[in-house]
């Protein structure tokens, strides 16, 4: 049995297509199990019951593309899925035809008709999951819940449990090259959460920082993990065969130019703020004051480091392209010499 045959056998065993893989079992919808869980309602006793959330590859892609298509406007949609112990599972998502979600609490009510129609139609083609949450986008200002979001989510958690809120930032996704997403659940009113330690820091623009600070203790975030089916895996692998061209030719400095400029403006505002605060504190030299201004300046420093690094990444891509496609040496010996350092640089 030669190499290729062995490889094919291994491949076939690994991708056993005849029977349903363990990986694909998550796509089965067990109506009885779901109804039992809905009856038991284990989340009522513990506000911190749900700790993890699993998002399917398709749902993620759909949400990211919908958020992106909104440009600088916030968009919103709903997600379908189910619950499994302390894990919420999101199988699919769909967009809602509403606008201005950041200014109204009842945006979801307006789309109620659309939602019921959609879920009805989905059940007819074999998608039996129920609505498990909502998602919306914060284009350019990070993943957190604003005051309006918190009130909307608290309302949802009263009437439509189990429910989760997801926030996506399409602009930061593109600028940093990683999907910028967060999943949250609010605590009921008056509940004092146990101190859960520092969460991952994210830069918030100056005009939103107050909204963030006031409400940031009223909700907690869930750990996000993703899953995909075996067919997805296969298709994604073969997709790469065509997609590598796009990766190489993407130019993030240009796509992110506007966002970077805005970040720099924001940074300068923050710097001026901390400058005035420092000036005041210098006269009195009180300890608590210094702590606050130190924090302000360190936060600005962290923000500026992040922006700088993104710019540098973009430039790295440009330099790589230039080296590959523009710097063609004329002579044969030169070609060999330049092949050596370039392969070393890439290694």
């Amino acid at each position: 049995m030669n190499q290729s045959q062995i490889a094919q056998r291994t491949w076939e065993m690994a991708n056993n297509m005849e029977s349903v893989n363990a990986a694909d079992e998550i796509y089965q919808y067990d109506r009885k199990q779901q109804q039992d869980i809905l009856q038991a309602k284990p989340w009522e006793k513990d506000p911190h019951f749900f700790k993890q959330i699993k998002i399917s590859a398709l749902a993620l892609l759909k949400m990211v593309m919908h958020a992106r298509s909104g440009g600088t406007l916030e968009v919103m949609g709903l997600m379908l899925g189910k619950v499994d112990g302390p894990t919420m599972i999101v199988m699919d998502s769909f967009a809602l035809p509403v606008e201005g979600t950041e200014t109204r609490v009842n945006a979801q009510a307006q789309a109620y008709e659309y939602m019921t129609g959609y879920v009805e139609a989905a059940k007819q083609v074999g998608r039996q999951e129920n609505v498990i949450g909502w998602y919306h986008s914060h284009p350019g200002y990070g993943c957190w819940l604003s005051g309006i979001d918190v009130s909307t989510q608290m309302l949802n958690q009263n009437y439509q449990e189990p429910f989760v809120a997801i926030v996506i930032d399409p602009i930061r996704t593109i600028s940093s090259g990683k999907v910028n997403i967060g999943a949250f659940r609010t605590y009921p009113k008056g509940y004092k959460p146990p101190d859960e330690g520092p969460s991952e820091y994210q830069t918030i623009p100056l005009n939103k920082i107050e909204d963030f600070g006031v409400h940031c203790k009223q909700y907690y975030s869930l750990d996000i993990s993703y899953f995909k089916s075996s067919l997805d895996k296969k298709l994604l692998d073969s997709l790469w065969n065509k997609y590598w061209v796009n990766t190489l030719s993407s130019s993030s400095l240009i796509t992110n130019a506007e966002y970077m400029t805005r970040q720099i403006f924001d940074l300068s505002d923050k710097l001026e703020n901390s400058e005035t605060a420092l000036g005041r504190a210098g006269l009195f030299g009180l300890d608590p004051q210094e702590k606050k201004t130190e924090d302000k300046l360190s936060r600005v420093t962290r923000d500026s480091c992040k922006t700088t690094m993104e710019a540098l990444h973009g430039l790295m891509a440009q330099v790589v392209k230039d080296r590959l496609f523009n710097q063609i040496p004329q002579a044969q010996s030169q070609a060999q010499e330049s092949a050596q350092p370039s392969s070393q640089a890439q290694a």
Partner: protein, 382 residues
């Protein structure tokens, strides 16, 4: 003064650099695609030993075009009687670009049905997107409900109307473009369904995804229908269309993230390494393609492969395209861009320095004050 002025200068710079730099990316993209295009032609005609096709997905030379893996269109024969494909050489009338989201949609639909039924089932759905002139962009898809009457599949029209209303509310600028299904090569049952879709739309496209495909390239084929005279009777035949994968920056990042997440065990602590990983994989692919072309040319030279003038002409054209952009204007703008980024990192470093200095001075003052206080106290008492 500093940051705001710098920012506005940067905006001007960017606007100027955008023209040249975006043309660079376009040039890069077209060169890479030309390299891929040559591989298409090389593969069916060259008897070169397929390099490490079993395991290394990156070096698969057939991983580029649907045509390569399928051989040629005219070989397709349906199960029960007669071909449904038009003769090879018929060129499609539209150009198609496909979003990866559609592929994932279909895959999920199929997986879901299989998980619920326990065995693989054929699924059916509609494709929506935008059409401008002779270019079709397939952007999204949704499932269709159908009934089986006498072994034939009949599409449920009412369901489709309901869904049409819904998607028009959310994606107002997208129209119905065609339909999709899963399975192997197309046959007469597909033509029957295609005729039904023709009632809804003038000339729909038909997408077929093969979930059981064994080869490593994308098992997605797109067809359109033509009316041809076969044995004197006008029959509908299918013509295969070439398609490209549409890109959108957010989609690419999403697809990338989803594709690589399973191998996410090692947490990369270096942000630079993470960022360069994607570039590195893409460059690896490019290098393997180039190596293949070089091998072919050398083999031609040695006489191992028959001399194909067309391919060699294309290779020649490709090499003449390099360097892609090297005018003085481009150089100027490129260095401007480098300077802008250098300026930004300079500002960032200065900010970091200021912060460190501030903290140092605060602590120094604190210490100094304590010491001074101590001395004063001693001065009082002694």
């Amino acid at each position: 003064m500093s940051a705001k002025d710098m920012a506005s200068m940067e905006v001007d710079e960017d606007v100027a650099a955008e023209a040249t730099s975006s043309s660079q990316s376009l040039a890069v993209e077209s060169t890479s695609q030309a390299a891929s295009g040559i591989i298409n032609v090389v593969a069916p005609t060259s008897p070169l030993p397929q390099p490490a096709q079993s395991s290394a997905s990156s070096s698969s030379l057939s991983g580029l075009c649907v045509v390569v893996a399928g051989g040629s269109n005219s070989e397709v024969v349906s199960g029960d009687g007669g071909t449904v494909m038009a003769s090879a050489g018929t060129v499609g009338s539209v150009s198609v670009s496909l979003h990866p989201l559609v592929i994932l949609n279909i895959s999920e639909h199929w997986t879901r049905q299989r998980a619920q039924e326990g065995k693989p089932v054929q699924v059916l759905g509609a494709l929506i997107g935008k059409q401008t002139g002779r270019h079709i962009e397939i952007m999204n898809s949704f499932e269709l409900s159908y009934d089986e009457l006498g072994g034939h599949i009949i599409i449920n029209r009412d369901y489709y109307t309901v869904k049409e209303e819904q998607y028009k509310q959310v994606f107002s600028d997208m129209d119905l473009l065609g339909w999709y299904t899963t399975g192997d090569t197309p046959g007469p049952p597909d033509l029957l369904i295609h005729k039904q879709v023709c009632d809804l739309l003038d000339s729909p496209v038909f997408l077929k995804l093969n979930p059981m495909a064994r080869h490593t390239d994308l098992p997605v084929s797109i067809f359109e229908s033509v009316l041809d005279l076969v044995n004197g009777a006008p029959t509908m035949l299918l013509v295969e269309l070439q398609y490209t994968l549409a890109t959108e920056e957010a989609e690419r990042i999403g697809v990338d993230h989803v594709a690589r997440m399973s191998s996410h065990d090692t947490q990369e602590s270096s942000l630079v390494a993470e960022n360069l990983q994607a570039q590195y994989s893409a460059i690896k692919m490019l290098a393997s393609r180039v190596r293949l072309i070089a091998e072919y040319v050398r083999a031609s030279q040695r006489g191992e492969v028959e001399f194909n003038h067309e391919i060699l002409r294309q290779v020649n054209a490709l090499t003449h395209r390099l360097p892609v952009l090297s005018s003085d204007k481009f150089r100027g703008e490129f260095y401007n861009q480098c300077n802008d980024v250098a300026l930004m990192s300079y500002l960032g470093t200065i900010t970091k320095c200021c912060n460190t200095m501030n903290r140092f001075i605060n602590r120094f003052n604190l210490l100094h004050e304590r010491l001074a206080m101590g001395r004063r106290m001693r001065g009082l008492f002694f």
